[in-house]
């Protein structure tokens, strides 16, 4: 900042703090609610400070099967979500890296045709193609399985496009130096392209992990067995549990638990991300 007067400093801080409070208040409420019993939350005033039920609530959630959530412990749901999100993330990154590599570095017939085909699938997210995809998955007998959850979401035009753009910025001379150094296509990919893409991979990992973790519609359709429920589905089920009152303390507890893995991923990748930014050329 060029300006550095006390008044403007005060103002910027006030605005920033207001923003932080505004964003964090719901999370705070969820955290507080998850430490009370069911009664405390159904009558006014809603508590703003921690109750004494926190430990027990979380133990119930992680180990006990809640009837409101279909009798599966939240721990299992989180594991399911994790497997799905990691599967989608790693799959998407691997496939789009390879696809972008092929499109940028190899001359083959209809190369640009393939590129545009991938590009237009950007316009076809799962929600649009859900019926045909469901039909395919049913015929392949992949309902109620992890690969049924993961595979249909694994192709990514966005990531392919991103890697393509990045590869195009790598100078030709670098590729030529590697060829002279006797690096074949596989070696070039492994020794040079992958390490150079590290920052991009870390950034994409964050975005795609959150995308995978937050999937709701597709898991709802392909899974009918409780043991495959994801945590987002679990929250939804608890909130709409028919005639009974919603169990707000459990719902909030689950929401807090569901926040943890994405936060961890952001923290872990951020290190790599920042390191990559600092290390990259120029």
């Amino acid at each position: 900042m060029v300006e550095n007067r006390p008044v403007s400093t005060f103002l910027t801080h006030a605005v920033l703090i207001a923003g932080v409070v505004f964003l964090c208040f719901p999370v705070w409420m969820a955290l507080v609610a998850s430490t009370h019993g069911p009664e405390a939350l159904s009558k006014a005033p809603i508590p703003l400070w921690f109750g004494d039920q926190g430990f027990q609530n979380y133990r119930d959630l992680l180990t006990g099967g809640l009837p409101e959530a279909g009798g599966v412990p939240v721990g299992l749901m989180m594991l399911n979500s994790l497997i799905m999100a990691l599967g989608i993330t790693i799959g998407k990154i691997a496939i789009s890296l390879i696809a972008a590599y092929a499109i940028v570095y190899f001359r083959f017939p209809f190369r640009m045709g393939f590129f545009w085909m991938i590009f237009i699938t950007l316009m076809l997210p799962v929600e649009v193609r859900i019926l045909p995809t469901f039909d395919v998955i049913t015929r392949l007998d992949m309902l109620n399985s992890y690969h049924g959850l993961i595979v249909p979401l694994i192709a990514s035009a966005t990531a392919t496009f991103l890697f393509r753009q990045f590869f195009l910025t790598i100078p030709d001379e670098l590729v030529e130096a590697a060829r002279i150094d006797g690096a074949g296509p596989m070696k070039f990919f492994r020794d040079i392209l992958l390490p150079l893409s590290r920052t991009n991979i870390a950034a994409l990992f964050i975005i795609l992990f959150i995308y995978g973790w937050n999937q709701y519609l597709w898991p709802l359709i392909v899974t009918t067995e409780e043991r495959l429920y994801t945590v987002v589905m679990g929250i939804q089920r608890m909130a709409n549990s028919g005639e009974q009152l919603p169990v707000w303390h459990y719902i909030m507890g689950t929401a807090i638990l569901a926040l943890i893995p994405p936060v961890l991923v952001v923290l872990a990748m951020q290190k790599l991300f920042v390191k990559g930014l600092v290390e990259s050329e120029k």
């Binding site: 001379e173 030529e176 002279i180 690096a183 050329e281």
Partner: protein, 353 residues
């Protein structure tokens, strides 16, 4: 170390651009060849065909006697230094130098020995564990040279390696490259568009023009006996003075000597003109004092563009002064209407007499 032979080499790029045509060149083992010429004349294309980075359209490239047209760059046993260094940004200097050797499955201790040797020659010892971005341009180019040296290749290829450096560093590295060639006695093929680099480095210069070889020869041969007007004008700063052979100024310079049949142009180097009693009269125009010598623009009667003289720095001249100049014995050159030298190899035109 090996010979490199180019036989009828030609390159047509996609879209029909004829970048190189009918290039025949035999490079001896251990020779320092410089390819020079104006931008776009096909120098890089030739180098890249030797390296195998560009497919050969016609003709043949032989390295050490074997045709390599179909070999991958990695199989040709050559090393190349690029204008933009082309170092692997994520690898340390050491890793950059060892990468090619690792791919050739060279034993570890041998790699270490060669890197130590190259680091000693190029004074890179302190930088071995740094990343390229932590080095200056000159150091980066040294690393790129180190990467070439450790390979111990049959031939070294350089594509304008000094173009990104400032003038002082360029002169420094130029001397280093020359010393490196002395030490390694390997075949060097060097592309530049800087004639100073070409003159100072080359055993033989190959001067290119529009995809064809204009002249091959030692730097002095090209300077002294240019095979064409193009060569005469390209080599030397300031370039050779050229006058239409029929002009009064040219006659005054030739002082009655008979010009060869068909001579259309008369050429004379700036330093070959000296103050004389008889010869071409003219008026001194601009004077550029360079210290050791001075460039004098001479406005002569019957010739529009000023002639350039290179005189000793101590010459006492003033602008507007009338002087008479004449070429030194045996320094006049003649070219025909198509720009070809009339005596490409034989005796130069006799002056005086």
């Amino acid at each position: 170390m090996a010979t490199v032979d180019l036989k009828g080499l030609g390159k047509t790029y996609q879209g029909g651009v004829r970048a190189v045509e009918g290039v025949d060149l035999t490079i001896a083992d251990g020779e320092f060849i410089v390819l020079v010429g104006p931008s776009g004349c096909g120098k890089s294309t030739i180098l890249r065909m030797i390296a195998g980075l560009e497919a050969v359209s016609e003709g043949e490239v032989r390295i050490g006697g074997t045709a390599v047209n179909r070999l991958e760059p990695g199989e040709r046993d050559i090393a190349m230094v690029f204008q933009n260094y082309a170092l692997y940004p994520h690898m340390s200097v050491r890793a950059n130098m060892s990468y090619g050797l690792k791919n050739q499955k060279t034993p570890k201790d041998e790699i270490a020995r060669r890197i130590a040797e190259a680091a000693r020659i190029l004074q890179l010892g302190d930088y071995l564990d740094r990343k390229p971005r932590q080095l200056s341009g000159g150091q980066r180019q040294r690393v790129a040279m180190g990467r070439a040296i450790v390979r111990d290749p049959k031939a070294f290829l350089f594509d304008e390696p000094l173009s990104n450096l400032d003038a002082k560093l360029r002169a420094e590295l130029r001397a280093e490259i020359k010393a490196l060639h002395r030490r390694l006695r390997s075949t060097f093929i060097y592309v530049t568009h800087d004639q100073v680099e070409a003159m100072s480095l080359a055993d033989r210069i190959v001067l290119m023009n529009r995809g064809r070889i204009e002249q091959i020869g030692t730097p002095m041969e090209l300077y002294d006996r240019p095979a064409s007007r193009f060569v005469a004008e390209f080599i030397g700063t300031p370039p050779m003075n050229l006058l239409p052979a029929e002009s009064p100024a040219a006659r005054a310079l030739a002082q009655g000597a008979r010009l060869p049949q068909g001579a259309a142009w008369l050429g004379v180097r700036p330093e070959a003109l000296t103050l004389a009693r008889a010869g071409l009269r003219g008026q001194v125009g601009l004077i550029e004092a360079l210290g050791a010598d001075m460039l004098v623009h001479l406005v002569a009667e019957g010739h529009d563009a000023p002639l350039i003289l290179r005189l000793h720095g101590t010459a006492r001249l003033a602008e507007g002064q009338e002087i008479t100049v004449a070429p030194e014995e045996g320094t006049l050159r003649a070219f025909d209407g198509a720009g070809q030298a009339l005596h490409p190899t034989a005796e130069p035109v006799a002056a005086g007499g």
